[in-house]
């Protein structure tokens, strides 16, 4: 143990994967002393109603996020690139659900 005692547990972000076929989805955050406790807390907070089969936790301060101030440069240039969407194909009748 380090000599320093923190009086507040660090924040963790929680990702839960539902039954099958879906990705881990961010469901919320919680406080825990370490990763092991965070997984337990996530189980108790976010999978009480049969929501999940897999949990990821990550320290919130370990997440690198895009800067809201750079939103224009980051995201707007893709707004007019219609040719990036595969919308010019005709889909055969034998391929359903697309």
């Amino acid at each position: 143990m380090s000599g320093e005692i923190r009086h507040e547990w660090p924040l963790f972000e929680v990702f839960v994967r539902a039954k099958r076929g879906l990705n881990h989805v961010h469901v919320g955050s919680l406080r825990a002393a370490d990763h092991e406790m965070a997984v337990h807390h996530a189980r108790d907070l976010y999978t009480r109603r049969n929501e999940g089969v897999s949990i990821w936790v990550v320290r919130s301060d370990h997440i690198a996020a895009s800067d809201p101030g750079e939103k224009a440069a980051f995201f707007e240039p893709s707004g007019d690139k219609v040719y990036r969407h595969p919308t010019h194909y005709t889909i055969p009748d034998s391929i359903p659900h697309i």
């Binding site: 143990m1 005692i5 547990w9 539902a18 039954k19 099958r20 076929g21 879906l22 989805v25 919680l30 406080r31 825990a32 002393a33 092991e36 406790m37 337990h40 807390h41 108790d44 907070l45 009480r48 109603r49 049969n50 929501e51 391929i95 359903p96 659900h97």
Partner: protein, 313 residues
């Protein structure tokens, strides 16, 4: 095969388990026969179901008392989850007890209409917690014992008891894990947390001995292949506790004590004496012998049901 067609596998909406929230629940008791096993005294089976059911009911109540008082929100919810698991086990076992005695008493009557001397839990379940360390120490002891017992009860000749045990094992495995993590965390933590965890373990070591002293009902039912003789759980219990206590830098032999006296439950024995024990054996919670702590629990737990007979929400 259902999923030979990749497109159909992607769009298999018949299976509601693919939805994210709140589906896929199943009744674990569907098809379990409710007849009583042959050659077994129904009164014994009823008493045994009350022992296991009351352990869960009373411990659940003590856990519920921590809601709004837990050190962290996350742990409060964890304790509430555990309390609900135990309450679920209690409901099934009290229902089974009512079926076995043939009295028509249902789970609510059992929980809310019995007097203190009719309860059959061990005194460790009713003990008030001086602090969080006491709570996790009690939870570790009770869930380690219960997991070992349920593990064997899955082979019980009573099909309902076997089904309750099979369902409960997964729940209790988590309870034991939760308690063990905290015992290690506090024991192997700061000087203060170590001292308080050690004090808690020491305080509950003596009353824990009651769990392993077989009652006549347990011995008769164990011989009939229905129950488990608690004295046979000792080796597994000692191995698990030894491992956890060592990791927690606590005395791994603190629970080896065979001493036990009802007064060790921490509350003065001011209750009127229960029905007592046959054959000179010291009376225990399994005989209906309890401390004043149970009076406090029942006063709160039963007050609403007694004030509003037949009330339903």
């Amino acid at each position: 095969m259902a999923f030979d067609d990749a497109y159909r596998a992607l769009t298999d909406h018949d299976d509601d388990a693919r939805w994210a929230y709140g589906t896929g629940f199943a009744d674990p008791f569907a098809g379990v026969p409710t007849e009583l096993p042959a050659g077994v005294d129904p009164a014994d089976l009823a008493a045994y179901c009350l022992m296991l059911g009351d352990d869960a009911l009373i411990m659940s109540h003590r856990l519920q008392e921590w809601v709004t008082r837990a050190p962290e929100l996350e742990d409060e919810l964890a304790l509430a989850n555990i309390a609900l698991d135990l309450l679920g086990q209690a409901r099934l076992l009290l229902t089974r007890a009512g079926q076995a005695e043939g009295s028509g008493r249902d789970e609510d009557t059992m929980a809310f209409r019995r007097e203190a001397a009719e309860f059959r839990h061990v005194c460790l379940a009713e003990r008030a917690d001086a602090d969080f360390a006491h709570l996790v120490a009690r939870l570790l002891v009770l869930s380690t014992w219960r997991l070992a017992a349920f593990d064997r009860l899955t082979a019980s000749r009573d099909p309902m008891l076997a089904a309750v045990a099979a369902k409960g094992i997964k729940e209790i495995t988590y309870h034991r894990d939760y308690a063990a993590q905290w015992v290690v965390r506090l024991g192997d933590g700061t000087e203060l947390s170590h001292a308080r965890m050690a004090a808690a373990a020491e305080a509950i070591a003596a009353p824990a001995g009651e769990l392993f002293r077989p009652h006549e009902v347990e011995i008769r039912l164990a011989a009939a292949g229905v129950a488990v003789d608690p004295s046979t759980l000792r080796a597994e219990f000692d191995a698990v506790l030894g491992q956890v206590l060592t990791a927690a830098t606590l005395d791994p032999h603190i629970f080896d004590t065979e001493m036990y006296a009802p007064a060790d439950c921490g509350a003065a024995a001011t209750m009127p004496p229960g029905p007592g024990a046959p054959g000179g054996r010291p009376p225990s919670g399994r005989d209906g012998e309890h401390t004043a702590a149970l009076h406090d629990i029942l006063t709160e737990m039963q007050s609403l049901a007694r004030a509003v007979p037949g009330g339903a929400w």
